[in-house]
Amino acid sequence: MADTRRMLNRVAIHGILLAACAVYLVPLLVMLLTSFKSPEDVRAGNLMTLPVEWTVIGWLKAWDTVSGYFWNSFMITVPAVLISTLIGALNGYVLSKWAFRGSNLLFSLLLFGCFIPFQVILLPMSFTLGKLGLANTTTGLVIVHVIYGLAFTTLFFRNYYVGIPDALIKAARLDGAGFFTIFFRILLPMSTPIVMVSLIWQFTQVWNDFLFGIVFASGEAQPITVALNNLVNTSTGAKEYNVDMAAAMIAGLPTLLVYVVAGKYFIRGLTSGVVKG
């Protein structure tokens, strides 16, 4: 009796999990299948059927169209992610280990940055970038992303460093280490999990950003999200769904890759400090 009940429980649990997986994965499957179909195939067939003839025409065409913007996205994302992570780590270090009068207030104010809707700051930011002569430049966009990423990266690192015993810092000070030596030789090497969290978070945010991209970059400097939108929204000619799907896959691959490579740290980093040990 008990065995049958356990069996039924199992089936139910696994059934639900499989159903949930399907909900997430079917669109991906449709995208992949469609991207490998020929335009005729797309028009003739049903969404779920396998391609009659597997072809990479769609992928080649998509790459031709968006590759420039793909590299744009890299030029924006990589510096923005690295700079915001590094500064966030330094901020977190200062706020947790070199607390000064008012540092808690400063931290609370900084946290507002996590909750500000980005639409709100579009106009003042574009005004500021204009004054700085950085309007419509990649540098300008990187700066915007760094600034709005700092709230999150500072939060990550500050909370991680709060859990590290102060005695470690004291020991290093007595050993003769200064502010930056302690940071680079002691704290940063033990920050791998939270660095990974910060990198994944920032990479996903910046790479997937559309709003800042469409407002603060134009023409050839646009990131891939904007280019993808332009591609899909073209109203001339027949809809090339295979190209759209392939382009969307290309746009999504880097974040997927980052998550696969660093994902285990992400889970570990988010839960670190939840239980002691």
């Binding site: 005695a167 004291k170 020991a171 002691i186």
Partner: protein, 371 residues
């Protein structure tokens, strides 16, 4: 020359009117082992941090080997510290942990290797040098933490409750090793603890602290035998000193106090007490080992310059090396320490004799020593 001298050290946090350190004056000769002991919150860790330079002080000055270091950065004070949590750098190997301070100070590589080898041999941690702290047991981490402090050959060692995270057996072992190490190296050492056994066994001198003040400063023996006030008397010693309220009687020539038990009464001479106290209640302090049991129940008090109190044993607690007996005098529970083979059964009545020369008296209100 004084190894360490504190002159009127005061510390106030922020705008708080409460002082954490209320003017600490201490002077330790070079090569001596100073213990700072006291309950948590007494300011001993703050004082330790102040000596290390990790916290600034509000007033006063700190001198190491005669040099005023009050405004000197921690790294330039030539101090090494062992922390309660060990504070080993987790990403570095034992070798890197020990040599970190030397590498920061740009010591030549050969010197560093020499120094690591010396320290590792001294602490018997050679096989562990390439391991990371997470791969070490608590006792091994403790050794590495000491190794890191020893490597720089500083002028002053600071130990901040280094043994409190170890289990009881290891604690005793490491205590002996620390003492041995100090006898060999003869470096001035300040050791913070709340464990009065460590305070008694390790120190050349002990400063008992409470509420940001030094209650008494002296050799462990003085502090044990001659406590200056009620707090010191009660804090040092385990099981603690017995404190029995007694009323002072007698006349100007012969002052005495009275002890009552269910079995009878004893009048004990208190030659040190001021006759002006006659009629008042004072606290008699007597340590558990300063009470002797008369096995045959005879009165023999006069012979020992002590006085016998007829007493019935309420509880017997064998601890192994000695047995603790509990009874009641003047309505207060008192403890007596005897050899296990002398311990009577619970309920036995006998004469408990006080070593009156060692008895101390305190003012019950102020806690100050009266005699």
């Amino acid at each position: 020359m004084a190894g360490l001298e504190l002159r009127g050290v005061r510390k106030t946090y922020g705008s708080a009117s409460l002082e954490t350190l209320k003017g600490i004056d201490l002077k330790v000769e070079e090569g001596q082992f100073l213990i700072l002991v006291g309950p948590s919150g007494c300011g001993k860790s703050t004082l330790m941090n102040a000596i290390a330079g990790l916290e600034s002080i509000t007033a006063g000055s700190i001198l190491i080997d005669g040099q005023d270091v009050t405004d000197v950065e921690p790294k330039d004070r030539d101090i090494a510290m062992v922390f309660q949590s060990y504070a080993l750098y987790p990403t570095m190997t034992v070798r890197e942990n020990i040599s970190f301070g030397l590498r920061i100070r740009k010591t030549p590589v050969e010197r560093i290797d020499e120094e690591v080898a010396r320290v590792a041999a001294l602490l018997q941690i050679e096989p562990l040098l390439e391991r990371k702290p997470a791969q070490l047991s608590g006792g091994q981490q403790q050794r590495v933490a000491m190794g890191r402090a020893l490597a720089r050959r500083p002028r002053l060692y600071l130990f901040d409750e280094p043994l409190s995270n170890l289990d009881a057996k290891l604690r005793v072992e490491m205590r002996t090793e620390i003492k041995l190490m100090h006898q060999r190296l003869k470096t001035t050492t300040v050791y913070v603890t709340h464990d009065q056994v460590e305070a008694m066994t390790l120190g050349d001198c002990v400063a008992v602290m409470k509420d940001g003040e030094v209650q008494q400063f002296g050799t462990p023996e003085t502090i044990y035998k001659n406590p200056r006030n009620l707090f010191v008397a009660s804090f040092i010693g385990s099981p603690p000193m017995n404190f029995v309220p007694v009323s002072v009687a007698g006349n100007a020539q012969r002052v005495s106090v009275r002890l009552n038990s269910d079995e009878g009464t004893a009048v004990i001479d208190a030659p040190g007490l001021d006759p002006a106290l006659i009629g008042r209640t004072v606290l008699l302090g007597i340590r558990p080992e300063q009470i002797a049991l008369n096995a045959h129940g005879e009165r023999s008090g006069q012979e020992h310059d002590g006085a016998g109190v007829p007493t019935r044993v309420l509880v017997v607690e064998p601890t192994g090396p000695d047995t603790l007996l509990y009874a009641e005098w003047n309505g207060i529970k008192v403890c007596c320490r005897v050899a296990p083979d002398q311990a009577p059964a619970a309920g036995t009545a006998s004469i408990w004799t006080i070593d009156a020369r060692r008895a101390v008296y305190f003012d019950p209100e102020s806690g100050e020593r009266l005699a």
